[in-house]
Structures are given as structure tokens and as C-alpha cells.
Symmetry: C2
Subunit: 395 residues, 2 copies
């Protein structure tokens, strides 16, 4: 029998508009991985996590292995609350919902807010997984272009005014990564941040602020949109994936207590108590502030290495944005199809992510590519950029 | 601002029909917990899991802590495939999707198949969390009554024939726990299993077979519905929560390769690689067959203790079903409101789950309650039943 016919109306539309298929290019193992948006292997705290698991199970025995978890796990919102205070954000622990990574937070928010009538405004380009999660519910998007200072809020203002005038449906939700964006690495200026908040108040939309990279600033901590929000319009999503370990899947959303309760209602059977207890134990035993300081220095040095290598090796038709934190450098190579380029690049032992993966309309990403300086070490980064330039010069 | 107004149409309906609120009674800590559907603390393999984590991280370092996980985690479908072979089920590993517990499997299936037009047939009573997950998408249910042999398939046949005749919408999905059901502990007879499969073929509906307790039979392994299915109508959901540890959240759905691919599309950003790698390492190091044999013996003894205590202490207006496996005994106490009884019972130091939690229409569960023999030890079980009978005799 053909199960497809039994899919729900929403699923049918989601599959039609965004059919399952290639969602990441296949990168050969022997490449220098400038494609991977992962923490570097040597900064993942393997020993400390191993110790945390041992101590947790020694102290709490079977407790963290049951459904309802352990008091350790209940500490986690409190620990996240203290992290947020470092970012000028004041939430009580019942305004914080721990999720399985930022992705579960985005998924829950999409699930609770969006249906096929909903319009979502997104940066263009943006984080592909978030786009895909929104596409499970709606296909009405407003794409806001970016420049080196993040989302062009004047363009957003223009589009919104026009839609209002024409009586078109207005966005319910705007999704943004204001700091060290994925994939562009750009940071929204404070002026644009204030503009965006004003627009959300005027046009009555919510903002999903994805701040997964926020703690990885090089020089200056950007002020989260959430800290400028006086009307509870910002759902603040964060994660420990980029600063501790992605595989534990610990993220959160900070919002009103009422919204936390509703989101919880849809996730309560999708909890992961053991991972939460491990993370809480780890955070208790390992001061995060010192670690973050080390990470910021290490990633800044790797970013500088990448930027220097780009200056040294890249031909003139290649340009890029200079990031102020995070993991990524976003490159434009005029008159080159970066998807085709990837084949040659991997043959020459280096990988990147073609721009097409970050746009609703793939062709818009044709001349762009994302480089990541998070995963490889400095020498490999330099070598990788050199290899990429060799491929370019042969074209 | 009032975020409620921005909820999606589906969310609004879900919250209206099933408002967030009390979803489990608050059980004081000093009670004998005949309410808890958890494995007994002393059978949770704490030491072995601690060892598995240590070995995993020693062998694979940071690999299991990244997004994409580790080869260990990729072994898990293969390991589950071998488990299913013990149950007369033949699936290839790409027909198995590992999920965060059986709950994520049920949630994904509901998400992909159900919308507000969908009719779902459920056992009455049934597993409350599954009901709630279905209610996130639809509010059209057909409730099929149970007796000591599981779902009354003749009632199902009757309802379906009647609906067909009257031109009413037919069910798209039927949810059943055929073996050692939660909450009734009953097992569907083989005759009824065959009848159910026939009905699914005749009326063209899918079956979500939740077999979370299947491996915990006392004497005889029940044949899964999936093994009788020749038209790929059964989505077979299982879990290691009841036999190893719930907190790791390892479950699965076994179905066609195409369906696995679609379900994966909706869960790919909601993966939990570290937990999967731990489970795979644990299974490699600890033969599950021996463990299962021990668990079956232990739970059978605890069940016998509970049944003997019920015989010894309970007054005549109390009756129950005798389980052939699993965790639960389902009691009927004529003319008693079991929700009110719980207050008195917890004051006397024993807990249970009132029947109302397992019915769409709470009042139908008024005279029923679920006892669990999984969590407490034999002496405590006997003591718990004695305490419960004391409360009853004072009413």
C-alpha cells in the first residue's frame, strides 16, 4: 500500500515544497573540513564530561536514568539563568525551558505558533535547519537581505510598509541570528537592533532570536535583542552546543512563564533527563567563564589565520565579510558556481558549504560559500585556504 | 502583549480540548510507589552504563559528542534489528528509525499522518501520553473498549461497519498496545490480533503498534501484530526504556524504508547522538538476552506477590485483570471514586494512578486504578496493597 496518500495535509505540503533529499553535501573523510560548523575536537571537554558522568552516577545512582530525572537536572534552568545574567538578560528560572539543543526550541516554537496561514520573516541567507523546520508548517516567507552589518532593517521596514498598504498578510514571526550569523558571520549593529525592535512593536510580530553563537564574541559582547525588548516579543533561544558539546543537545528558550508552560506542554514527552543531568553536573564542576575566555581567544586566533590566508591567497574576484565572533566567514566568488567548485575543492582536499544550502531559492546562493574556522587547527586552516585558491586559479 | 492570540489554529484547538494542567498527580515522597511505571532502581544497570560511557569516550574521544555522532551510534539500528529478530520480526536496518524513546516515535508518526480531519481509533483506556500527542493534531477519536483479553475487536468491527454505512469518516490510524497494555496489563489474544489485521486491510487503516512492554513476558512471547502484517500497515514502535533505562531515551519505529525516510526528515534536527552512542556501547558490552531473562523472572515474582496480596487483603467489591507480562495490574473498585481514594491512600503511605488519567472522558475511569509492580520490591508491594486495603475498609 502507498502510505504517502495517508500523510496529513501539512506533511504533504511540506514534502512537496521541501522534498527529503540531499540536505548536506557528502564530504570525503580526507578533506580539511572548512565545511564543519562543529567545535574543534580538542576543545570538546571529553575528560571533564567523562568525570561528570562518573560523579553523577556515583552520587545519584539510578535517579538520572529514570523518566523524571534528578534534582541535578532541575538545577539546569537556574544555571542557564546565571549564564543569561552575564548577557544582560534577566529571566527567572521558570521563564526558561531547557530543550534538546536550540533546534528543539525552534521546532517547538514553530509548532506552537505556525500554520499555513502564517507568514515568517527570515534573513536571506539563514540557518538552513531553521528554514526547514518552519517549512514543516508554512510556506509563506518574507526574505530580508543581509549586508556586512546583518539584516537590512530598512529593507524590512520597506517591505512591511508595502505589505500593510497592499493589505497583504503581515508576519507573525521573524527569525534572526543577530550575532555572528550562520552562515554570514555578520553581527547586527545596535542601531539596527533598536530599529528591529521598533518594527516588531509597530507591526506586532514576534522575534525568534537565535543566539547560539553569542558567547563567542572576539572583542565585545553584543547586546541581545531580548535585552531591548519591553513587550515580551522576543523568544530568546540559546545553546551550549557551540561552547561545550553539541552531542549532549542542551539548548533553551527564555520567554514568558506562560509561553514556557505552553511550549512545555508540547515537549513534555520528548525530554532527555540523562543528558540534562550530565550537563548540570558538568557545569557545577567546571567554571564556564574561564572556558569561554579560552574559547574566545582560540577562535579569534583561528579566524585571524583564516582572514590572513584569504588576503594572501585569494584572487581579486573573491570578497568576504569580516566576522566579530562565532564560527564562520562568508565568501563571494563572482561568476563561479560554488556547488561545482566543491567537487574540485574536495578533490584537492578541502571542503566548504556551498551558498545554496542557506537560501530558500538555491540559485541566490550560487556565488557564495561558507567557510568555518571552528573545526580545523590554524595550520590546517591556512593550508585549506591555499588549496581552495589553487582550485580557483585552475578554473 | 497576549501571545495566545498568535498561537496556530492547531495549537489553539489542542489547548482548548486538552488544556495544560495537572497531567500527573502529585505523589508525596514517603509513599510506597505503586503508581510509578518505572523500572525498579536496583535493575537499572548504573555500573554498566557508567563503564559504557567511560569506554565510549576512551575509545572514541570527542566523536560521540558532536552533532553527527559516531560509528557506534550507527550500529544501533543493526543492534535493534537483531532484537526484533528474537520477536519473529524481520526488518533491515534502514527500515528502523531510532528515536528519543517510544514517545518521539509516536509524536513523529502523529505529526506526519494526522491533521484535524483525521480519525484515530484508540483502546479505552490507553496510554495517556500517546492520547495527548494525538490530541495535538486531531480531536476525532473512536474509543474501543477493552476486556481481560485486550481490545474488543468485535466492537471495533461493529463501529467500523456502522460508520461505513452511515458515511462517517473512517479511521486513518489505530493505536494499540497489544501486549501487557498500559494501563490494563492485558494481552490481545492471537485470534483478536488476526481479526484486527483483517479489519485494517478491509478498512484500509494503519496500525501504530506500541510494543514497549513486549519483551517482558512471563511465560510466552506474544506474536507482534507487525509479524502478521503483509501490507505494511503496521508501524512497529518499541523502546529500551522498560528493559534498560528510560532516561537514555532510546526507542524506535520499524516500518518501510520510505516511511523511515519521511519520519527522519521531520526528526533529523531532533537527534540525540551521545545517548545513542552510549546505548550502542552498552549493548555491545552487555548481552541483553541474559538480562531480559533475569528481568522476566524478577517482574513475574513481583507480579505474583502483588496478585497474592490482592487476593489476601482486598474486599469483595474489588476485581482485577491478571497480567501475563509487563508492569501493571488494573483494578476496578465498584462505587468508589479512585481520585478521591488517592488522597486517603497517600496519607496512608501508598500511591497508585487513578483510572481517569487513561480515558479521553475522565469520568469513565472513575472506578478504576492502575497498580504498578515494577518499581517497589516484593515486601513493599505486599505492604502497599495492605495499606490500600486498610484505606478501603475505612470508607
Amino acid at each position: 500500500m502507498n502510505i504517502d496518500q495517508l500523510f496529513s495535509s501539512t506533511t504533504k505540503k511540506a514534502l512537496q515544497n521541501d522534498p527529503p533529499g540531499e540536505w548536506m553535501p557528502n564530504i570525503p573523510a580526507n578533506c580539511l573540513r572548512l565545511s564543519s560548523g562543529f567545535p574543534a575536537p580538542n576543545v570538546v571537554p571529553v575528560t571533564e564530561l567523562k568525570q561528570a558522568v562518573t560523579n553523577l552516577l556515583d552520587q545519584e545512582q539510578d535517579l538520572p536514568l529514570h523518566y523524571v530525572g534528578t534534582p541535578k537536572m532541575e538545577l539546569l534552568p537556574e544555571q542557564i539563568k546565571h549564564r543569561l545574567e552575564q548577557r544582560a538578560l534577566s529571566f527567572s528560572s521558570d521563564e526558561i525551558l531547557v530543550t534538546a539543543g536550540a533546534c528543539q526550541a525552534i521546532d517547538l516554537i514553530a509548532r506552537v505558533l505556525l500554520d499555513e496561514q502564517s507568514v515568517v520573516a527570515v534573513e536571506s541567507p539563514t540557518y538552513m535547519e531553521a528554514l526547514e523546520m518552519f517549512q514543516n508548517y508554512t510556506h509563506q516567507f518574507i526574505e530580508i537581505p543581509m549586508d556586512e552589518h546583518g539584516m537590512k532593517t530598512d529593507e524590512l521596514a520597506h517591505v512591511l510598509a508595502e505589505r500593510k498598504e497592499q493589505g497583504l498578510p503581515m508576519p507573525k514571526l521573524l527569525y534572526t541570528i543577530p550575532s555572528f550569523q550562520n552562515p554570514t558571520g555578520t553581527t547586527l549593529t545596535n542601531e539596527r537592533r533598536r530599529h528591529l525592535i521598533k518594527l516588531s512593536e509597530h507591526y506586532q510580530f514576534l522575534i525568534l532570536e537565535d543566539d547560539a553563537y553569542g558567547e563567542l564574541y572576539f572583542d565585545e559582547l553584543p547586546i541581545p535583542l531580548s535585552a531591548m525588548d519591553t513587550e515580551n516579543r522576543v523568544l530568546y533561544v540559546g545553546s551550549l552546543s557551540k561552547v561545550i558539546a553539541p552531542g549532549l543537545r542542551i539548548g533553551w528558550v527564555a520567554t514568558t512563564k506562560e509561553m514556557v508552560q505552553t511550549l512545555f506542554w508540547f515537549k513534555k514527552d520528548l525530554d532527555h533527563p540523562f543528558a540534562q543531568a550530565i550537563m548540570s553536573q558538568y557545569l557545577n564542576e567546571n567554571p564556564l567563564d574561564r572556558r569561554l575566555k579560552e574559547l574566545r581567544t582560540a577562535y579569534k586566533e583561528k579566524c585571524d589565520t583564516m582572514l590572513e590566508a584569504l588576503e594572501q591567497y585569494m584572487p581579486r574576484h573573491v570578497s568576504w565579510y569580516v566576522p566579530e565572533g562565532g564560527y564562520f566567514v562568508w565568501l563571494k566568488i563572482s561568476n563561479i558556481d560554488t556547488s561545482a567548485l566543491l567537487d574540485d575543492a574536495t578533490k584537492n582536499g578541502v571542503s566548504f558549504l556551498p551558498g545554496k544550502y542557506f537560501f530558500l531559492h538555491e540559485e541566490e546562493g550560487r556565488e557564495w560559500l561558507r567557510l568555518s574556522f571552528s573545526y580545523e587547527e590554524k595550520e590546517e586552516i591556512q593550508q585549506g585556504i591555499k588549496r581552495l585558491s589553487e582550485v580557483l586559479s585552475q578554473m
